[in-house]
Point group: C2
Chain length 635, copies 2
């Protein structure tokens, strides 16, 4: 447990980080000004907000759904983050109104679930595997913690403490308790947040119980199903409940479930120093990121379980890559980074944020992807089940992704910096300002940069008083020739490197300036030879950004295009899509027009040169609908 | 209607064609000696044979299935063909026993269907769209015609005439008749066979009625479903009933349904000279073979409708390419060839026979493919629904394919030659002897050849008396430099060519010999640029045979292999798989062992040369199970 020896990093909270870059700030503003109101309207229109009036009765339309509480909870959490940085009395009143209703709806014993209270009273806790009761509780807890932190108001938190208290009494190994655990993980990480917010150890213990009990025989989900006279409709792997978590070596099953579990495991390990749990997290990380992750940071290769399949099975059109799963990957990566600051965690976090997470929301903030495939052919059969759309949608019946992306964007600042005694880590780059105390001395760290479009970052360190500490700069895995200057003097970077971070230890003065240079040539990325769907293909990446071809720029039938190995790829500032660096090159195409052969021919087809334009993957489907693909044929 | 002006070809019947080649004869012998007994056992074990005892009663196990009659019928048809060439009293007794039972089971009004008589009495003709009643009738009629022709026994034929009489009374535009037509086409072509066997015009008229009525508004299937209080669970395209057949321009829906319909349309057009119907056949042929057919002659791109999707959508792993559909393509091609002998029909027939049909049965004759994908990855999620197996199976719940391939192999000789006054056409090559009369003169045509492994064919023409006629030799579309000698003298082939056949007109003497040379270099086949799944890939073809890579020869992860454009491909006689010409070449591979990069890398991976061996596609999965792929990466 070598890493747990060092004190974990504490993220500099989003309230203390001001982003002023052109990339994320604009998206965060849209999130605040467009997405939050749009989502509130959708929540209201679909009954998710007003369900808390508790007026629904059997026979009335719009039956409450088991997921609804979580959708509203994630929106409240997002709105809370927004309130902290951008006060909005109307928004705050809306939340207070919802909290008042929940408070009123809460049963005397603390129980609080709109679906079970209205639709299936008396059936509570009878179907943990499938019915999302503890999942909803988890999201409500997260929302309450966020709202308390943002506004200082404790009422929502108190409601959720009572509910958590009830859950802690219900589940456990004591006499009369149920030995259950959630079918959809989430409450584990929420309970750790509640513990951190309240200092009450019982919540951490309950999180640890849920994690420890998972996958133990006799199998709770199977017994529970038997008691209902049913059988479990999914494999135990689907729930990551096929074996105790410490024995798990592969990322399996439903991807969001898996990543929320792993995040909770990392949280508990960070708090308890449990090395066996941390070892499991590390093994699962390796399985996940070295064998089961798309280049976009998407995870989940199939719609059938919304999750993982087998090593290196990463089909592009059929990718599920749920927005929520990439968000959960950010959560897990961020937690591992805090426990053990290693570049690989930061690399995956950055990969997911700039690509597979951000693709989940349109530039205008009004439409959302649930499924994020790496190639789309609008005229072919759909993959990804009901959520596999070829354009972003305004809402979904199962609306987990839209408020999830909203809460991420509203709290994005917290992923940039982490501190511990004697050190400040910069995980992500982007024009910003972070405020923290280093052993009593207030410090401001500022980044001036055009990142992610340019790799030059000027970091100024401004302590209130001279102050000795280590500034650790993540040198991204995609960067091959980084360099750093301290006050104009080039440092020997190799000597500074430790686990993917350049550690610069000195006594900092107000005028100290670091110049970090992360050259970002366009890279032709290739996949491991067992990723058969990507063989003979490259993906274009520049800095953290993975590119794609869109029909809007390149015409239809994108697979007709092949890039020669020798073709230089140029960058191009473009004002489209909010201002991007696009990529431009010359490829070859087999033109369809003029094709004189039949369906199959032994002649070698004529080729002609063609212009090829690539745009950031995350920004696709913001123009006219059409084909898209990440992996491009290469010769 | 230019083609209908010439008299259609009459196929030389299978009884008058003796195959003595090493390729088909061996398969036909296995079919006779192994497949027919194995299938009989399966039919018996699964209840399909004994259902005709009519002893099943509700509550008993093994409920008769709506398809069962057709499975037994196709087996009887296959067995009948076999009896004609290889008498087998035991087999004949088995069929007679079944016929006796059917005769006894037949209702007074002629109706005969084991499922409706036993399981849903009173419900007959209430669900034409889905319940296969007329389809079963069609297969029973085909079996009866075959059995009468093979044995001279008329009893089965009489049973089926009574049933056909009943159907003719039930369906039509007359007062009190139902304006229905089959949900699964088949009876149309069967009725034309019955007409040809009996000379009774009413059967041809009934076939024409079913074809003409199809897709007419108000829509019979929709009305019929409404009457049952249901709605139609498939689109009208699924049944080729979305518009009248003469308006149809694209091959759509369930592929076996479609091709049985088109075959019936061609039959009716051939008999009636109906040019509008023939034009529709020609348009559908073009749609089918120029935009919707696999290189193997497989058709049907998806399991979801067991059929067609859109133009050029030909995914390889997800291919459905049902064995029955390729067999039906042979039927349709053979009928078009008779009406209008053009090389393109013969090319498709040959392509399907040597590849997508033959793949349907194992070399040992005991196991069958229902679905014939062009790439298989045993460890990935299955395509092709319940029938998409990665190895051939002994039987299927829906067992249409095994007896279908059996009846084709038992009557294969009929596809080789066709005659009309003044001309004999050779459609297919293979060592064989065909007997026919040319304007009163008995003629024997013999082929001596190692085809399909070698392209030299020596054709001797042996008329009983000198006789003037045209011998038309198909010059396959795959062949670029054919040549022909008549009695040792090279002919100017171009002058002889007409619609893909070399027409050699002379007064034939007993010692006349033609030497046809069809050079068959290995061809690198490429697909139309809109077949996106094949872009950057080649298929290897030599003569009529499409090749594939198998894991048994090339190791796993076949997509790691790339063939350089310049690599010579050698042929190699091999004793495996019944004796084949295998292909051998040198490719490049990205070896998995020694891979030091992560899941994604900007380094260009190392490559090393590797041996590549290809075997005929139809013969895959006759060794140890593993991966297979037809389309190979090329650079």
């Amino acid at each position: 447990m070598h890493a747990a020896k060092a004190e974990p990093l504490t993220p500099i909270p989003y309230q203390a980080v001001t982003l002023s870059d052109s990339f994320w700030s604009a998206r965060a503003a849209t999130n605040r000004e467009v997405t939050l109101p749009v989502e509130l309207k959708n929540l209201r229109d679909t009954g998710r907000l007003d369900v808390w009036k508790m007026e629904w009765r059997p026979g009335m339309p719009n039956t409450p759904h088991p997921f609804w509480d979580s959708d509203l909870a994630k929106w409240i959490e997002a709105a809370a983050y927004s309130l902290a940085t951008h006060p909005n009395p109307e928004l705050e009143r809306e939340i207070d109104r919802a909290v008042t209703r929940m408070e009123k709806a809460q049963l005397d014993d603390g129980y609080l679930n709109s679906y079970y209270q209205l639709v299936e009273p008396g059936k509570r806790w009878t179907n943990l595997a499938l019915m999302h009761e503890l999942y909803c509780a988890g999201h409500l807890i997260e929302a309450a913690v966020a709202y308390a932190s943002a506004t200082g108001k404790k009422r929502f938190l108190d409601v959720m403490r009572r509910y958590a208290q009830h859950i802690a009494g219900t589940f456990g190994r004591g006499v009369g308790q149920r030995r259950g655990y959630p079918g959809h993980e989430e409450i584990e990480l929420a309970l750790v947040k509640l513990y951190r917010a309240t200092g009450e150890r019982q919540y951490l213990d309950l999180a640890a119980y849920f994690i420890d009990e998972r996958g133990v025989e006799p199998h709770y989900f199977i017994q529970e199903a038997l008691e209902r006279g049913e059988s479990l409709p999914f494999s135990e792997e689907y729930f990551q409940a096929h074996q105790p978590v410490r024995e798990q070596r592969e990322a399996v099953g439903h991807a969001v479930r898996a990543l929320y579990l792993y995040s909770g495991m990392a949280d508990v390990a960070a708090e308890t120093g449990d090395s066996t749990l941390l070892d499991a997290c590390r093994r699962l990380w390796t399985s996940l990121t070295e064998r089961r992750m798309y280049i976009t940071g998407g995870i989940g290769s199939t719609a059938s379980n919304e999750g993982f399949t087998s090593d290196y099975h990463l089909p592009n059109e059929a990718a599920y890559a749920e927005t929520c799963a990439s968000i959960a990957l950010v959560f897990f990566a961020h937690r591992m980074l805090a426990i053990d600051p290693q570049g690989k965690y930061g690399d995956a976090m950055e990969r997911a944020l700039y690509n597979g997470v951000l693709s989940g929301v349109s530039l205008d903030g009004k439409r959302f992807f649930y499924v994020n495939p790496l190639a789309v052919r609008p005229n072919e059969e759909r993959h990804g089940g009901e959520f596999g759309t070829v354009s972003r949608q305004e809402w979904f019946g199962c609306a987990c992704c839209p408020p999830n992306v909203a809460r991420l964007l509203a709290s994005l600042g917290q992923y940039f910096y982490g501190v511990r005694p004697g050190a400040c880590f910069i995980h992500l780059y982007g024009q910003s300002e972070a405020r923290f105390d280093m052993e009593g001395v207030p410090v401001v760290v500022k980044q001036r940069t055009q990142y992610p479009w340019d790799g030059r970052i000027r970091v100024s360190v401004e302590p209130d008083a001279t102050c000795a500490f280590t500034l650790a700069l993540r040198i991204p895995g995609w960067c091959r020739n980084a360099s750093v200057k301290v006050n104009g003097r080039t440092e020997a970077l190799a000597d500074l490197m430790k686990n993917g971070y350049a550690h610069i230890t000195r006594t900092w003065n107000k005028r100290d300036v670091l110049e970090l240079e992360l050259p970002m040539p366009v890279e032709r990325m290739r996949a491991h030879p067992r990723v058969r769907h990507d063989m003979g293909r490259i993906a274009l990446q520049r800095g953290p950004i993975v590119y794609c071809l869109e029909e809007a720029d390149n015409g239809a039938n994108l697979d007709r295009i092949v890039l020669p190995r020798s073709a230089p790829i140029r960058t191009m500032q473009k004002r489209i899509l909010g201002g991007i660096v696009a990529l431009k090159t010359e490829g070859w195409e087999i033109p369809e027009k003029g094709w004189k052969e039949g369906l199959y021919t032994s002649s070698e087809p004529l080729r002609r040169p063609c212009h090829v334009v690539a745009i950031p993957y995350a920004l696709w489907d913001n123009r006219k609908p059409g084909e898209m693909q990440v992996w491009i044929r290469e010769e």
